[in-house]
């Protein structure tokens, strides 16, 4: 297939490009205009065409889709205020969808996030899967949750209206090189001090290379369902304590962890919420960990399953979570290696070996 991959220069995108090429696809990798670098392996590779553009500008989007069979849409904005995130996530998607309609394209994979789910109403230790309700009151959550919900809605509405093949993937916590910390661990005060809450809560981790493979498999999905929403979580879900201990032992200087019991944090957040409503009619702005819906979204002990994605796509995460951490801290980055493809079946194995 000829694929347009948006957000190709990002943390996840670089691995998705490598994985798509490994699966024999031709890739048009979209980088943002100010992106200065991309993996050297892309240069001169006949299967990768690097293009620059910004999806927030509707003008250039049609040209990006010329000669393309499907789209893997990873581009999104995670920082800035609501309107910056809205532009980078929703308006970018809106322009892409509109250009896809004009180009009569009908295949898209979009990465969303676990942040779209409702956590406050979920009982502890219940199973979070694709049937879990979406956030009931996104306005009290964060900008990322709000914009991802809108993005999902417009993608699914457009796919329904035009009968596209569409997979919305909701990865849990994607971790990898330079992205080993997650807000689900609590609060990172600085490089040295971490506040951890909910030590026994399992983490819905997916290692970036595993997740990249799931995305490419979703693109290749030819099953009977034309619209799919799938969670992406690796087979093992280590607890916060296990993950942090493994991480702490490999990071220098060794961080200091201040544990706060989940029950205590819950009570503190509840008190802060009550005070806010009684004294300020809910208008006060307090740190995320003191907002119950955000605290629950980050640290509530829940169980996770990847049953649906495994059964529908046949995805099997290639690396365990310990291997994921090891590869993330290795001096060699898999995204920088020569791209393997189906014509050279041994190449991927070699690459795995080199990294470990």
């Amino acid at each position: 297939m000829r694929l347009l991959i948006t957000g190709a220069g990002g943390f996840l995108g670089r691995y998705v490009v490598a994985e798509a090429v490994a699966h024999g696809h031709r890739v048009r990798a979209l980088l943002r205009p100010a992106a200065r670098t991309f993996p050297p392996a892309w240069e001169g590779n006949p299967r990768v065409q690097v293009v620059c553009g910004d999806l927030r500008d509707a003008k250039g989007v049609a040209a990006l889709l010329e000669g393309v069979d499907g789209v893997i849409h990873l581009a999104a904005s995670k920082s800035g205020d609501l309107y910056e995130q809205f532009g980078g996530t929703v308006i970018a998607t809106e322009n892409l969808l509109s250009a896809m309609v004009d180009a009569a394209l009908s295949r898209i994979v979009v990465t969303s996030s676990f942040s779209v789910y409702e956590y406050l109403a979920l009982p502890q230790w219940s199973v979070l899967d694709e049937s879990t309700s979406l956030a009931a009151d996104p306005l009290v959550r964060d900008e990322y949750c709000q914009t991802k919900l809108v993005q999902e809605r417009i993608v699914l509405e457009c796919a329904d209206a035009h009968d596209w093949r569409c997979v919305v993937l909701r990865p849990g916590v994607i971790y990898g090189r330079d992205n080993l910390w997650t807000a689900r661990l609590g609060m990172q005060v600085n490089d040295r001090w971490w506040i951890r809450t909910g030590a026994s809560a399992p983490l819905p981790l997916t290692y970036v290379e595993n997740c990249a493979e799931a995305i490419v498999l979703a693109t290749e999905y030819e099953g009977p369902q034309r619209r799919l929403v799938l969670n992406v979580v690796d087979n093992e879900t280590p607890t916060q304590r296990e993950y942090l201990n493994a991480l702490r032992n490999q990071v220098t200087p060794r961080p200091r962890i201040v544990p706060v019991a989940w029950g205590v944090m819950r009570v503190l957040a509840r008190l802060a919420w009550l005070t806010n409503w009684v004294c300020f009619k809910g208008t006060a702005k307090v740190p995320g960990l003191f907002v119950p819906s955000r605290l629950h979204a980050r640290c509530k002990p829940l169980r996770y399953t990847n049953q649906k994605i495994v059964s529908l796509l046949g995805w099997q995460p290639r690396y365990s979570w310990q291997e994921g951490i090891q590869r993330s801290l290795s001096p060699l980055d898999a995204a920088d290696f020569p791209l393997a493809d189906q014509a050279q079946p041994g190449a991927q194995a070699l690459l795995v070996e080199q990294v470990q």
Binding site: R32, P33, A34, D54, R56, D57, G80, D81, L82, Y83, E84, F86, V90, I91, E94, L139, Q146, V150, I154, F280, T283, A284, K285, V286
Partner: protein
């Protein structure tokens, strides 16, 4: 002229019906403020992006959303339109709104030139409609306190007015985005055009003058100290004279911390208003004698600084921003619209602001 059709959306009795053009960040402030003013019923919002229009409408319980403001003007029965789009689009949208027979409240600047403003003003006047530019910072508490100090002669005769804004917009955010340059980079004053009206109306507000002819000479140094091609200018240093009164406008992206202050120096003292960390500080002759006056001023200053520090944290918790003046501005504006009284921002204030911005940008005044 587009005649409003029968409204598709419910009209509440005894409430003014309002629509908003533009669903961005400034729209959020307007809609939030209007929601808190009990006598306004927002019936429609439009934005070029359907997702943003719909999102904004859902968020503020607005019954109608549109991607074409003309369709909104046609379908919604509204008394007033808020124009909250980028400055370069104002002329066309404001004219269309006036043509449809609605009063217009518009974000600054009404137009990118004084001639553009004058044309729109004449167009509104010919239709007996109001055209009101948002001068929200004039209604912030520290500026109102400063007004009281100046009006009560506690600093004597005004000799110098200094308006200074420091914003680290080069450090990140929408204005520093090189991927898709913000449309304001293409304005005559580049990105500073987003802020220049605020600086101009505050300066003029505190500079005593009978007529705009009293203003001058004007000299302005527009610079791009940070270099690069994204920013046309990132620094402005301007001198504006009005007879014996010296005025100065400063804008910089290269200093720390961010600030927005108005300092008025007079024959008997100095008063300083800070809008980002709301305070108003007065140094003046105290009724304790020559020797103790510095001590009393220092103690008063220390008290102001301490309360500003705690106040900043408190405001952060209370989620209050420097847009607090918008609420008072809109309240007074709608009061004027309901009663037929004078709006809080007069023609003269808008006219002079626009003229001063033109003068600051004029080639012959550049240094």
């Amino acid at each position: 002229m587009i005649q409003p059709a029968t409204s598709l959306y419910p009209i509440e009795k005894n409430k003014l019906s309002v629509v908003a053009v533009g669903g961005g960040k400034i729209s959020e402030h307007h809609l939030h403020t209007m929601k808190n003013l009990g006598f306004i019923n927002v019936v429609g919002v439009s934005d070029l992006s359907p997702s943003l229009a719909r999102f904004t409408a859902e968020r503020f319980n607005v019954p109608g959303w549109f991607t074409d403001y003309r369709a909104m003007l046609e379908k919604c029965e509204a008394d007033v339109v808020h124009v909250l789009t980028p400055p370069a689009t104002h002329d066309r949208i404001v004219r269309d709104c006036l043509t449809s027979g609605r009063h217009v409240i518009v974000e600054k600047p009404v137009s990118l030139s004084h001639s553009g403003f004058q044309e729109l003003w004449d167009y509104a006047a010919a239709r007996n409609l109001r055209l009101i530019e948002n001068h929200n910072y004039r209604f912030n508490d520290p500026v109102r306190q400063l007004e009281q100090i100046v009006d009560s002669w506690r600093i004597g005769t005004v000799a110098e007015v200094d308006v200074r804004m420091v914003l680290n917009i080069r450090g990140g955010g929408r204005y520093a985005d090189e991927n898709l340059p913000h449309p304001s980079h293409r304005l005559p004053a580049g990105i500073i055009h987003e802020f220049i009206s605020h600086l101009a109306y505050l300066l003029l507000h505190f500079m005593p003058h009978d007529d705009f002819r009293d203003i001058g000479p004007v000299q302005a140094a527009w610079r791009n100290h940070g270099g690069g091609t994204l920013f046309t200018y990132d620094d402005l240093d301007a001198l504006v004279m009005a007879g014996a009164v010296h005025g100065r406008i400063r804008f910089s992206c290269r200093q720390w911390p961010d600030c927005f202050e108005v300092v008025v120096r007079g024959s008997d003292g100095v008063a300083r208003a800070e809008l980002f960390h709301p305070t108003c500080q007065l140094t003046t002759r105290r009724p304790v004698g020559q020797h103790l006056t510095p001590l009393v001023n220092a103690l008063a200053g220390a008290r102001t600084i301490a309360s500003s520090g705690f106040g900043s944290i408190w405001r952060k918790i209370r989620n209050r921003t420097a847009y607090e003046g918008l609420s008072r501005f809109l309240e007074l504006t709608y009061e004027a619209l309901r009663t037929g009284g004078e709006p809080p921002v007069s023609f003269r204030q808008m006219d002079e602001t626009s003229r001063l911005v033109d003068a600051l940008l004029a080639e012959e005044n550049r240094i």
